[in-house]
């Protein structure tokens, strides 16, 4: 029951946050100096003042701000984000929709990779506290944390793509002969294309999460119940993985939730480097073209994704932590 109430409360706060996101996106786009229309028009030398006015009217930019916002919000409710400025004039939502799965796929794979590698790494470092292994991983983590992801991407492309020629360095699948491949061949081709992007987008989070796992484990290993578990003669494996890790993982759920905006933000970088047709690349092209409905749609969609991701992490935390699940407040 307590859990149910907790979840209801969480969901109720989603609404205002969502409205806040739309309001801020709208204000960012409209209050930034330099009007979208004027920049759009600057590219076209044949644009007369009358044409400019007509375009402004066509996109509703001549109406008062609050009307424009409500209009846009009304559209958003039915996923009508307007039409893109680019020559194809396609609805913004269609453009985002077809690119979203790719970005989500890569981010989910990256989160999976982060969890599979970072948690055991952090546990191993904490268990062998201050050992050679611990120090080496600490140094590596510091380096991985400071390395710009796009540079690591370049180096990986240089080594595995150009030097060794093992992995493709751009796109989602091969351009030549892809149609002739069998089903498994296509899957394999996809996988080969995804290795480097997933690796690059996971790197920063990997470093961060293994660091947090380590300090969280160190904290838990100091607790009395670990001493108790050891004292009653449990094998060390069981002490570490049953008693310690389960408690150490709790704060990590929150950390993982907090790293979602960074992961999605990273999409812009690796999608533009590896030429992957996802929302990050769409954002980049819309910035370059100053395509303003597309920009706004993109901004709102990725923030809502982040919001949902955070919410999932919160709920995961509630499900995993019996103190929240049962509503009992314990001293600790």
């Amino acid at each position: 029951m307590a859990l149910f109430l907790y979840l209801i409360k969480k969901i109720l706060t989603l609404g205002p946050t969502f409205l806040g996101i739309t309001l801020i996106s709208f204000m960012v786009m409209h209050l930034a100096p330099g009007e979208p229309m004027s920049l759009q028009a600057d590219f076209n030398p044949k644009m007369t003042p009358e044409m400019r006015e007509r375009l402004r009217a066509q996109y509703g930019l001549d109406r008062p701000l609050h009307i424009q916002y409500l209009q846009w919000l009304k559209g958003l409710a039915v996923l009508d984000l307007g039409r893109s400025f680019s020559p194809d004039r396609r609805p913004v939502w269609d453009k985002i929709k077809e690119r979203l799965p790719v970005t989500l796929l890569i981010n989910v794979l990256a989160i999976g990779l982060i969890l599979v590698v970072a948690v055991p790494l952090g546990v191993a470092a904490a268990v062998r506290h201050n050992s050679f292994f611990d120090q080496v991983t600490t140094v590596l983590v510091f380096i991985a944390y400071a390395a710009p992801a796009f540079w690591v991407a370049l180096l990986l492309m240089l080594y595995f793509g150009v030097h060794l020629g093992w992995l493709p360095i751009s796109g989602l699948h091969s351009l030549m002969g892809y149609e002739q491949m069998s089903g498994w061949g296509k899957l394999l081709d996809w996988c080969r294309h995804l290795i480097l992007p997933v690796l690059v987008s996971a790197l920063g989070g990997l470093a961060g999460l293994s660091r947090y796992t380590r300090s969280s484990m160190l904290e838990v290993l100091k607790q009395d119940y670990i001493t108790t578990a050891r004292a009653k003669g449990l094998p060390e494996r069981k002490v570490i993985y049953r008693h310690a890790l389960r408690n150490a993982l709790l704060p990590l759920i929150t950390i993982l939730g907090l790293s979602i905006p960074g992961l999605i933000g990273g999409s812009v970088i690796f999608e533009s480097i590896f030429a992957i047709p996802g929302v990050g690349q769409l954002m980049w092209t819309s910035v370059m073209a100053r395509g303003y409905p597309l920009l706004m749609g993109n901004l709102v969609i990725v923030s809502v994704l982040t919001l949902l991701g955070n919410q999932l992490a919160d709920m995961g935390y509630a499900l995993a932590d019996p103190r929240i699940r049962t509503g009992v407040q314990m001293e600790n």
Partner: protein
């Protein structure tokens, strides 16, 4: 547990000043040396750089590293080492100014929320939560799309989108500090709100702000380089490590040196700030040592 903590803080070790503790931490010293070295390089760029960073030399384009050009030349024949040295100015300047802006905004909002509490706190923190939902780079890109991509705009935009961490931190400090006896004493002696905030609470919150600021510079430098790499940050011909890497990407197959050195410069710089920041954290607050 309380008692044990108490003893640790009272141990003779505590007599050593935080500067002494910082000096005893080899990683922090390494960070300090890196940051100091970079500042020196940035300040003395005109004397250190062997060539003019903007000098185009069409006879020597894309030359690999040699005695004449230690780090090779770029597609316009400009000397990469000279551009790297001048790039340090841009990276450090953007990093420090952006974080300065973020620190001021974050401190003001965090202090307001933590000091006044109630609905002001609720409003400001709600706002922080909402801004945190935006992947920073998307927010920055949306703003930059309609601005001239000048170095000043980059600094302002990075600063305006990265103050949330500082705000949360300052709020937490203020919440705990305003309950302390010395604040109550100041209030009883009739000190004004402004006086309590500026001369009693804020000085006690400086340590965590300093740590966050130092760690923030690394992050801001990474953001600037990513933006410049994407072509929406610092624009060529002004040399920035990020836009030098764009040239590296465009010539990946033929000129590895263009991709290698600017990236290493970013890595070392960010590493330096992160090591110094972590060292400061350990030195300034012995209770929250990471070990």
């Amino acid at each position: 547990m309380e008692a044990v903590n108490h003893q640790i803080t009272k141990s003779p070790n505590h007599q050593i000043t935080w500067l002494g503790r910082l000096g005893n931490n080899p990683l922090a010293v390494a960070g300090f040396l890196i940051v100091g070295f970079l500042c020196l390089v940035a300040l003395s760029a005109p004397w250190l750089a062997p060539y003019d960073p903007h000098a185009i030399d069409t006879w020597h384009i894309l030359e690999s590293p040699s005695k004449a050009h230690l780090l090779g030349t770029d597609p316009l024949g400009r000397d990469c080492l000279s551009r790297l040295i001048y790039g340090a100015r841009i990276s450090l300047l953007v990093g420090i100014v952006a974080v300065g802006i973020a620190t001021v905004i974050g401190t003001i909002l965090g202090a307001l929320a933590g000091f006044y509490g109630k609905w002001i706190d609720g409003l400001i923190m709600r706002f922080v939560d909402i801004i945190l939902c935006f992947p920073t780079i998307f927010l920055i890109m949306a703003v930059i799309a309609f601005l001239e991509p000048s170095i000043w705009n980059i600094m302002a935009v990075i600063g305006l989108t990265s103050w949330m961490g500082v705000a949360r931190l300052v709020r937490a400090e203020f919440l705990s500090l305003r309950q302390r006896d010395f604040v109550l004493a100041a209030r009883i002696s009739g000190a004004s709100n402004a006086r309590i905030v500026f001369s009693h609470i804020l000085p006690n919150a400086v340590a965590p702000i300093l740590v966050a600021t130092t760690l923030g510079v690394g992050g801001a430098i990474l953001t600037e380089s990513a933006l410049s790499f994407l072509g929406i940050g610092v624009q060529s011909p002004t040399p920035s490590w990020g836009n030098m890497l764009t040239e590296g990407k465009d010539n990946l197959e033929i000129a590895w040196w263009l991709s290698m050195f600017p990236g290493m410069a970013i890595l070392v710089t960010v590493l330096g700030y992160n090591l110094l920041g972590e060292g400061l954290r350990d030195a300034l607050d012995p209770r929250i040592r990471s070990e």
